[in-house]
Symmetry: C2
Subunit: 319 residues, 2 copies
């Protein structure tokens, strides 16, 4: 790396199932690293486990540039994370979120600024929360000013988040445990036993026809998910679904179930913006079309933009 291109920030997107680190300068990503050390793997250990994961992914960066500021967002700030950071409460804009961030100091003296999540308490029912996705929302809103006025952001993942934005503020959110349930069923359930060991992982490939069949089953399902899930088994047992397509059928069934129920709770007249990994957004886009509802746009993960903005808003010396 050239002398003149010294980095100014380490940004960490530290979620339930993975840790991504961005070495940044002037808002641009110089280098990206990814590890499997999501908080679900580290939780239950003590802070030392998080320090080790942090050192493993960025220790050499800090060895070379010891005074580099570090900002982190995601589940790392949860009760199961490295340090619990209280939530900002909805309605919340970018400034309200930055004000709520907290700094911890590692055993080796590095300061890490951890973003808060957002908590939404609706008029009735249980509260809902997110950590990490709020940084994606603000990053996404910077792309198109019209979305700040009114948009519904859908962020597929381990825990999919549906975020209603109005007047630049996060006004409501709902979590769907779609990705986690898919992984549980695929890995640990009797449905997973029928899936050939060499079947392509749905996240890595365009879906097979089983995906559309799963979406269709969700569309016809009347809130009977616990029952309909079993059809992944019975269709395969009766040779009506190739075993290579079971995982995609299950993926379509779960994503379809999320979409059918979440769309019923969302205002019909605001643009729907998908934010996330391309292969997963492709699946959500296909399922939305099958449900006669298109996405206004599909964006990649905008966490680096927002981590940069968070560092500036918090007054860190990043130029």
């Amino acid at each position: 790396m050239e002398e003149g291109a010294a980095p100014q920030l380490i940004g960490l997107d530290w979620g339930t199932s993975s840790l991504r680190a961005f070495l940044m300068r002037e808002g641009q990503v110089l280098e990206t690293r990814q590890a499997g050390d999501g908080i679900q793997r580290l939780a239950g250990g003590d802070a030392a486990a998080f320090e080790r994961a942090f050192a493993a992914i960025s220790g050499d960066w800090l060895g070379r540039w010891p005074r580099l500021p570090v900002v982190a967002c995601g589940m790392v700030g949860s009760a199961q994370g490295w340090r619990e950071v209280p939530y900002a409460k909805s309605p919340a804009d970018a400034q309200a979120i930055a004000r709520q961030a907290t700094t911890l100091t590692t055993a080796s003296g590095t300061h890490v600024l951890i973003a808060p999540g957002v908590l939404h308490q609706g008029a009735h029912g249980a509260p809902d929360v997110m950590r990490g996705e709020e940084t994606q929302v603000v990053g996404a809103l910077q792309r198109d000013g019209a979305w700040s006025r009114a948009a519904c952001l859908v962020m597929p993942g381990t825990h999919s988040k549906w975020v209603q934005v109005r007047s630049g503020r996060i006004e409501a959110l709902a979590t769907h445990m779609t990705g986690e349930l898919f992984a549980l069923l695929r890995t640990h359930s009797i449905l997973g036993r029928l899936i050939p060991a060499d079947a392509a992982r749905p996240d890595d490939a365009p879906p097979s026809p089983g995906f559309a069949r799963g979406v269709d089953a969700a569309r016809q399902d009347h809130g009977e998910l616990l029952h309909t899930l079993f059809s992944a088994r019975t269709l395969a047992l009766t040779q009506q679904l190739p075993k290579e397509q079971i995982a995609d059928y299950l993926s379509g069934l779960l994503i379809g179930s999320e979409l059918v129920s979440a769309l019923a709770q969302s205002p019909p007249d605001v643009p729907l913006v998908l934010v996330g990994e391309p292969a997963l957004c492709l699946r959500y886009g296909q399922a939305l079309e099958a449900l006669q509802r298109g996405a206004a746009a599909t964006l990649g993960n905008t966490a680096p933009d927002r981590l940069w903005a968070l560092a500036r808003a918090a007054g860190l010396a990043v130029g």
Copy 2:
């Protein structure tokens, strides 16, 4: 055991998560044994794994009475079981089920008669299947002739079965993956992480108030299970649900979701009969009351009755 009380049959109730063996004489159970060797633990191995589990639970019985006939029902006859036995097709009565049973011979020369399951193919949608519960249905119908005319049997478990009976025949069935999903979420999900290690297991104790709250959440849920599940986490994180009650809340939410959706698909005018483990039937009974629908009766597991009847119907010399 007295000389005159020599047993006449070994009955095996061999399901997804457990194996129960009954030593029987004249329709009565002389001794019951239970092991954790459900097919989910043994599947993926070869037949030898099933032989070892069979020998472990009944080897001494067969050592003493080598010519004792053995009948088995449950997932042991599935594609992941010891030997796949083709399903009897609905509508099916007791005789049709007995005709479909298959005999295997172990390496040591013991004959084991394995019951078929029942397959139901509705007018539209995916087929549904059961293995083992069909023996409970027929056993239950022997208790009250009125149920043979028309009843809805609800058998809670790893995979809950809803069986519609009319004119002595199994006419329809629907599976709900409630128990398996509860175990997956409790053991492997982020929801389970919040549950104290020493919290009472729901199956072993009367439910805490969290159970009724979970049922109520399911009642108000509009087919949004993937979303509502997350409330087990957010209610606990915000101190609105004691951590000791999370497991019961989750249990109530899943059982409630099963009941709400299955009742919507069942005829309202037939008696509802609960068949299964008392602690689990207690939960289903409480949830049914919360939904303004009572059970006509609650029965224990009637598998021994039916295993006996199956052995006789198959012409085995059991007196």
